[in-house]
């Protein structure tokens, strides 16, 4: 099994491209190196794209927080942790600010398909959802690293109902 190289410098990346595009490689070893280089490039580019999307979302959140000026700074910190911890398979949310200064993360597929989660100044996440006629609310604990399973399930349920409008993280 090939392992992704965690860091690639500019020269290392260029060299990797040269290896991956070496059409003269004919021996099995050379072809294996070429395949591995292509794989590493693919993983690297995917992770860059994913990180870029999260970075853009965090910037968007910071801009909204700066505009509102009522945002709790601890809530902002936890919301950023939440975004970073969000698995890459989960779409990124939209943001809004609640009257109490907490941050609302909303996954809106349609008018009647919404999952909304509030990040406040503690480690408990208040969330609610509407999925057609199904609705409810609950609270889950967030340790700063692992998104609670119930939250993942709730977002996924909304997002998988034909989610053309979601931005994938």
């Amino acid at each position: 099994m090939y392992q992704a190289i965690p860091k690639l410098g500019v020269f290392g990346f260029a060299a990797m491209h040269a290896l991956a595009n070496d059409g003269n490689a004919v021996s099995p070893e050379a072809q294996a190196v070429r395949a591995q280089a292509a794989y590493v490039i693919k993983v690297f580019e995917q992770s860059q794209a994913l990180f870029g999307a999260k970075k853009a979302a965090i910037s968007q959140l910071m801009a909204l927080a700066a505009e509102e000026q009522t945002v709790d700074p601890i809530a902002l910190l936890i919301a950023e942790q939440f975004l970073r911890a969000l698995p890459n398979s989960i779409p990124l949310p939209e943001f809004s600010i609640d009257p109490d200064g907490s941050i609302s993360l909303d996954w809106i597929h349609a008018r009647n398909q919404i999952f909304s989660l509030s990040v406040g100044a503690n480690n408990r996440l208040a969330f609610a959802w509407l999925d057609g006629t199904d609705k409810g609310h609950a609270v889950a604990r967030f340790d700063g690293q692992q998104i609670p399973e119930r939250v993942i399930e709730g977002i996924t349920t909304i997002a998988t109902n034909g989610n053309a409008s979601f931005r994938i993280a």
């Binding site: 609302s104 008018r111 919404i114 509407l130």
Partner: protein
């Protein structure tokens, strides 16, 4: 009759306007739940008894009585009946003219986070029924 000339009871079929002073409270298609969340001090959501038309009069009310120095980006229009269908209620609260308040938000949970989650569920219902008007 109230000073504004409106009846003292908000009828089910009346339109209510919730002015949107945050860009985050709506997107290109819908009103977001946060737009309807109650203020934690007075435990109510401020609205005005006005529909989508006449539009100029709507924005004039927003600018004069709801903006408080902020920009009115739009309004969420909802029927009083939608509010009452989820066991909230709407009451006149003048002045300012035509001002009303969505009240009866449940405040029974001791756990503030669970209370907030319950409010979110209700706010989602209101957002679901609301018509988004962008300015």
């Amino acid at each position: 009759m109230l000073p504004s000339g409106l009846p003292e009871i908000v009828a089910d079929e009346e339109n209510l306007a919730r002015f949107l002073t945050s860009r985050g409270h709506f997107n290109s298609r819908v009103v977001k739940p946060a737009a309807f969340m109650p203020d934690i001090e007075d435990r109510e959501t401020s609205v005005f008894r006005h529909g989508s038309e006449p539009r100029d009069a709507l924005w004039a009310i927003g600018d004069e009585h709801a903006a408080h120095g902020r920009t009115i980006h739009g309004a969420a229009i909802i029927k009083a009946q939608s509010v009452r269908s989820i066991r909230l209620d709407v009451f006149p609260d003048e002045p300012p003219p035509k001002h009303s308040a969505i009240r009866n938000w449940p405040w029974t949970h001791d756990d503030p986070d669970l209370r907030k989650a319950e409010h979110k569920e209700l706010a989602i219902s209101l957002a679901n029924d609301a018509q988004l008007l962008k300015r």
